[in-house]
């Protein structure tokens, strides 16, 4: 961790205060991202942050890069257009768990399948914050939401497994309780050539916390601390022990040709040989 990292140049401080509630984890995820990006010698003019719609997706507006706040669930296809049209840009997508796995679920698996060079940071608070605490595909079974007043009947996704199965070549999970680890995960994800996914488990005290009687923001972080387990430790434990734990770490780190690289090769091939009829 670059404790002294000056992240202010990356922020549009004139846009402050943010719309986020006190104790919301969104700022912690953004902080980890900015500290991560500050360790890379990327020209901010070549960085594009694309977000969807939701509390977390408002992050783009506060960041001093090329930024784009799109439609609910769709940041990945917008980002895909940006990256494919101009591969020299560093493209990062930020969106909520609802945005990513519900309305945008299809785009998520296809971006992973294509292995396009985009880093996707999922702000996973297990609920729809923006619209007031409804059920998300990441709301735990039996947990409460305004649209699951008797407890959620569904079972949530495991975002990391979903990303892996769909073909993402870098997949990691971190928590807001452990911002240093989250930062280094994001750094690795940003450096990765291919589609990289970070499941950033965060807290929404205002809705999820209140509806599920989880106490203060600090209590929610304590809950994270009590439930977190590293991938290495989890590996040696039986399934039932880890099933209600948050397993963190790097799940996938693969090399597979990145989409825009393949496209460049296609251009070269078309320039050289028999693409022309």
């Amino acid at each position: 961790m670059t404790k002294t990292a000056d992240i202010k140049p990356y922020l549009r401080l004139e846009r402050y205060p943010t719309i986020w509630c006190a104790g919301c984890g969104n700022g912690q995820v953004v902080g980890a991202f900015l500290r991560a990006i500050s360790t890379l010698d990327w020209d901010p003019k070549k960085v594009v942050v694309v977000s969807g719609i939701g509390c977390s997706s408002r992050a783009s507006g506060y960041l001093n890069f090329n930024t784009m706040h799109t439609t609910h669930g769709r940041p990945l296809p917008f980002a895909t257009g940006i990256k494919l049209a101009n591969p020299e840009l560093h493209v990062v997508v930020m969106a909520g768990d609802g945005d990513t796995t519900a309305i945008g679920g299809n785009h998520f698996i296809h971006a992973a399948r294509r292995n396009i060079g985009i880093t996707m940071i999922v702000f996973n608070n297990g609920t729809y914050g923006m619209t007031g605490g409804q059920c998300s595909p990441m709301t735990g079974h039996a947990c409460k939401a305004t649209t699951a007043p008797y407890g959620n009947l569904d079972t949530p996704f495991d975002i990391c497994k979903l990303a892996e199965a769909a073909g993402a070549t870098f997949v990691g999970r971190g928590i807001t309780y452990a911002p240093v680890k989250l930062e280094s995960l994001i750094t690795e994800a940003l450096k990765h050539k291919g589609f990289s996914v970070i499941d950033a488990v965060t807290q929404c005290p205002t809705y999820y916390g209140r509806l599920n009687k989880m106490g203060s923001p600090a209590d929610m972080l304590t809950w994270q601390k009590e439930h977190v387990i590293s991938l290495e430790k989890a590996a040696s434990l039986p399934k039932h022990v880890i099933q209600d734990k948050i397993v963190t770490g790097v799940f996938v780190k693969d090399l597979r040709p990145e989409y825009t690289t393949l496209y460049r090769r296609l251009h070269e091939q078309c320039g050289e040989d028999d693409c022309h009829d």
């Binding site: 769709r74 917008f78 940006i82």
Partner: protein, 380 residues
Amino acid sequence: MTESTRLMQGNEACVAGALYAGLSFFAGYPITPSTEIAEILAKRLPQNGGKFIQMEDEIASLAACIGASLTGAKVMTATSGPGFSLMQENLGYAIMTETPCVIVNVQRMGPSTGAPTAPSQGDVMQARYGTHGDHEIIVLTPSSVAETFTLTVKAFNLAELLRTPVILLMDEIVGHMREGVSLPGEGELPVVTRLVPVKGMKDYLPYRADKNGVPVVAPFGAGYRFHVTGLFHGEDGFPSNKPQDIEYLGMRLHKKIENHKDHYSFFEEYLTEDAEIIVVAYGGTARSAQAAVESARSQGIKAGLFRLITLWPFPESEIERVCSQARAVVSAEMNMGQISRELERVLGKDASLHKVTHIDGTLLPPQKILLKIQEAAVND
């Protein structure tokens, strides 16, 4: 046919027009009867350094186009009814964020999956009002293969000039028809490319409009860092919910279209000068209408054709000018009367308006229009 004349399908002419206009990025999802556009571009774009991508659906297709356009690329997507329905939300996003793009809808018969290979003009109102919220939109509709080419070029030019999505509303007849066309050479048709800000501008405001009411938005990566959002925003691009900002932007988006009428008011008149009966038709149907007008003339009925090329914004003053001279107006379209309702609005309830509607999935036959012309000639 001359040496340079080629037999070409409407969809192929659309591709040729797009490439002529400088298309460098296409994202799409296959759907009859537009698929040839994607297929031809999948082959052509990589040959000239452009990008083609087949997305997971039409929502993603338009999203990818908008993203690419914001990096400076000239972009297009092509679809038909069901896919066009899926594009509506992001169409509004393109309007709001003033992102140039061309959306081709080769209409097929709906609702729903309908009759995929049957000609129809059922999406006229969807093209106008399909995305939510008050908005203006430019919709162009070609009647021939050659016109598909030129209108595609014009669609790009308008999108670039006004920084707005432009819809090319084709129909299955024109999309799949083959005609001999001789394509204009380089430089014969004007090609417009959006303005970009000069380098190193101080206090750059991405959404400050120039004298034309159009902002000069920098491409991503060019050095200006700014924010793009579908929320109402100020000239700085950042969200605003101040009533004055909302009204200003809303009005500007309307006016920038309204005020450029002379750039996109396209229509064609055929034998209208002395016409007592005016047939109003567009797209593939205009071909039947022309045949009907010719038959009527041969029978001594003074009929003429007003062919709409720009459907939206509706060319009210031209319609008024041409139709007010006539005894009766016959509208002909392959739907239940979408444009005829507009005619009624413009000409007034008392005008003698005869509607030819057609929804059996076949081409509207000239005979059906001729019958209405004859009826009007006798009754009015």
